[in-house]
Amino acid sequence: MWHYAIRNVCTLKSHIFLFLFFFQQVDEAHSLQIVQLAKLLLEGCSGKEMESILEYDGRYPEMHFPTLFFDDLVSYLERRNKAVVSSATPPVRKQSSAIVTPEFNHPRALTARLQILRFVFGLGFGPVNGNPSMPQMEMSKDQINDIWDECLQPADQSAYMVFLATASKGDDCKCT
C-alpha cells in the first residue's frame, strides 16, 4: 500500500519536473511568434537579399534559413510529444484592458509552421522575383520522414498530409 502511494507520488513528481523543465525551456507562444515574424521579414526582402539569405553555406549550416525552419518544426513536434507542452500564457505584470491572454493553440501552431516551411522552400523552387540564379531548395525524404515520425496524433498526421498534398509537385516528384 505504502509502496504504491510512494510510486504514485514519484510519478507525479516526475510529471511536475517534466512540466517545469519544458516550461522553463521553451515558451511555445514566443517560439511560434518569432518564426512567424521571420517569415514576414522574408516576405519584405528584395530578390537579391532573399538570394543571400537562402544561400546554403556549408561552413554555417545552422544558419541556413530553410533548414532552421525545418529544425524548428521537428523540435516543436518533439517537445510536444515528449511532455506536456507549456501552454501557459506569458506572464504579464500589469493587467489592463489592453492585454488579452491568448490560449496556445497547438493544431494552429503546427499548421502555421507547415505554411512557413512551404513558403521558405517555395522561394527556392523557381526564379524568385525574376532572379533565375535563386538556389533550388528541396526537402529530402529523410526530412519528410522526420516530420512524419513526430506526427503521432491523428490531427497532426492529417495536417501534415494536407501539407504534402498541396506542396508536392505531383508528376515531378521523385521518391528515392
Binding site: 518564426v35 521579414l41 506569458p90 504579464v92 533550388q136 528541396e138 526537402m139 526530412q143
Partner: protein, 674 residues
Amino acid sequence: MDKSIRICLQIVKEDLDIINKIDKKKINDLNKDKAVDPFPPNNSSFIRNMIEACPTINALGHIFDRKKVYYKENDRHRWTNAGTGDPEKRSQWIQVFRRNRGFNALIQFMNLRAGSVIDGDGDNLLDDIFPNIKLCRDLLGAIVETLPKSNTNSNDPGESDMQSAKAQCIISEVRALSKVIMEHVLNMDERVLKKLDQTIVAGVRGQLHYMYKKLNKLESSATPQNPTSETPLNDFFTFWRALALKLITSQSLPLKLFGWNEIDALIKEAKSLAPPPRAYRVSGAGTAFVNGIYECDKKMIGSDGYVKDTELQYHHKVPDNNSSSASTNGGVVPADAAGQQQPAVVPPDNVPDDGAGKTITLFRCTMRSQHKWWFLSEADPDQPGTDKDIDYYQLKTTSTTCALPSPTGWLTCKAGSDPPPTLEAIGKVVPKGMERQTVEDKLARWAIENGVIELVLGDGIHREVVSRSGRLITFLAKMSDQPIVVDESDAMSDGDDDRYCLQASHLLLAWKTCINKSDAAVSAQIYKLLVSVLPELPSSLAIPLIEAIRSSLDQGGGEKQSDHFYEVSEFCCAIAKKLLADNNKSGSKQEATSVDEAILTLQWSILTHKDALALKSYDSIKDYVFSQISKQDKTTSKLREAFINQTREVIIKYGRKRKDTDPPVSVIKCGIMQ
C-alpha cells in the same frame, strides 16, 4: 438724455477729484506719522480707513459699455427695428470725459488701489474700492477710442505741434490706465482671481492687446514684428506672459486651464508676429537656373530693419555667365568668384537657355478666386503679377492668409521643367543682433526659465493640463529647429540661446512621469502628447527619447525593468496608429531617416518581446512594422538584415541541436507557392 449723461460724467469726475484730494491728504499725514513711528499698523482696518471707494464710479460702466441697447445701430437687414440707439453718442461722451480730465482723475484714483488685500475671512478688501473687472474692460474699451487714428502731421507747424502734444497726452493716459489695470490683475490674490468671470478677464486681456497694438503703431514707426524692449507691445507681452504664469502656477484647476488657454493664444500671436525668412534656398528644380538663394527685396525692409507691412518678394539674380552645374545644387556662386571663372562658351547668335542674367522672383499673387498662390517667375518689368510673367513653378494654396511659401508642394508651370523645387528658409528679417529677440524667442525663453514644462509634468500633473500643453511643447520643439543661418555673425548669436527650446531632459521627464504614474488616464495623455510631438522633433531630441523608452523595456527578459513593457507597448501602439494614418494620407515613400530607424527598432523590440502576443495592440504594431520594413532603401535594408539575424538566433535557441551538417538531399520538391 445727452445733458444728463454729461452731468453724470461731470459728477463722477468731481467725485474722483475729491477722493484723490482726500487720499493725498491721508498720504501726507501718513508720511508725517511715519517720521514719528517707522512701523505704522499695516492691518486691513488701517487700509480700509485709508482709502475709500468712489460711490459714482460704476456709472462709467453703464455709459461706456458698448453693448448697451442704447448704442445699438439700426440694422437694415433685420425685420425688427430693435436697435434704435446711437453709437456715435458713446464716442462723444468718452471724449467729453477725456476733455474734462476724467481719465486723468480715474488713473490717479486707481493707482492707489491696484492689487488686492485679503482679510482673514478671505474677502478682498479692495473688491469694492478698485473698479471691478467688468468696469475695467469697459474703461479700456472707452479709452482706446480716444486714441488718434494716425500720427499724421499737419502742414502748419504750430498746429502740428499742438496735435502732436495732444496725441502724446492721450497716449500717456492710455498707457497709464492700461498699466494700472495690468498691475491690478497681476497683483490679484488667487482667491479673488478664482471668483472672477474668466471670459471677462480674457476680455480685459483682449482689450489690452488691441490697445497695445494700436499704441505700437502710433508711438513708434515700429512694424508688428518689432516688439523690442522699447515698444509698447513688449510691455503687453510681458504682462501676458506674467498673467499666464500666474494662472498656471495657481492651485485652482480652472485657473490653470484658463492659463493654458492663454498660453495657446500667446503662441498663436507669437507665430503670427514671427519675422519672415531673410532668404530662401531653392533647390532640386528641373530648370537649373531657378535653383539658388533668393534674398528678400530690400525695398520691403523698413529703416528699423523689419519687414514693412507689404507683400513679400524674394529675388535671385542668375549670374551672367551662369553654369547649370553651379546652381543645380541650390548653391550660389559669388559674383566676384564667378567673375574669375572662364566665361561660358555660347554662340553669339544663340539665346542662352541657362537663364544667364535673368532675375527670378519668388512672390505671392492674389488670384481671381482670392486664393493666394506663390510663384517662381521671371516677373514682367512693367506689369509684374500678370499673365506677362514667365512662370516656372507655382505653389497653390487654398488659404487666403498663407503668408509664407511652404517648402514642398510646388508644381511645375509651362516654362519650367520637372521636378519642382523644394524651399528652405534661411535666417530672419530682423536687424543684426536681434535674431533671438522676437516674440517667439522671448516666449520660449520665458517657458524654459520658468520651468513651465516641469510644471506640467511635475508632481501636480493633471491629464487636462497635459492635454493642453501639447501646443507649447510642439512650439518649443520647433524652436530648436529654427531657420538655418548663413553668415558667421548669425552663427555666433545662435549658440548662446540654444537652451531656450525643448530639451531631451524634458522629454525624458515626460517618459519618466509616464512610467511612474499609476493613473492610466494621465499616462495615456502623455503618450498622446509624445506621439503628437514626435514628428516635430529634430533627431537630436527624438532619438534620445526613443532610446530612453527602449531602455525601459526589458530586453534581456530580466525581472527588474519588465514592468514597463505595458507602457512601452502603449506608446508604440499610439505611434504605430498615428504614423500609419499619416502614411495613408500622404502616401510618403521617402527614405527612412535616423528617427524612423529608431522608431522601427523600438517597435521591433515590442514585437519580439516574449509577452507581446498578450497585447491587444500587437496587430497594430505589426502592421506598422511590416508596412515600413518592406521599403527598399538602404537604412531599411540594414534594419531588415539585423532583424532577420535576431530571429535566426532565437529560432536556433529554440530549435533542436543538429548533428547532420550535410546540405538537404534533393528528393521532393515541395515549394509551389510564391
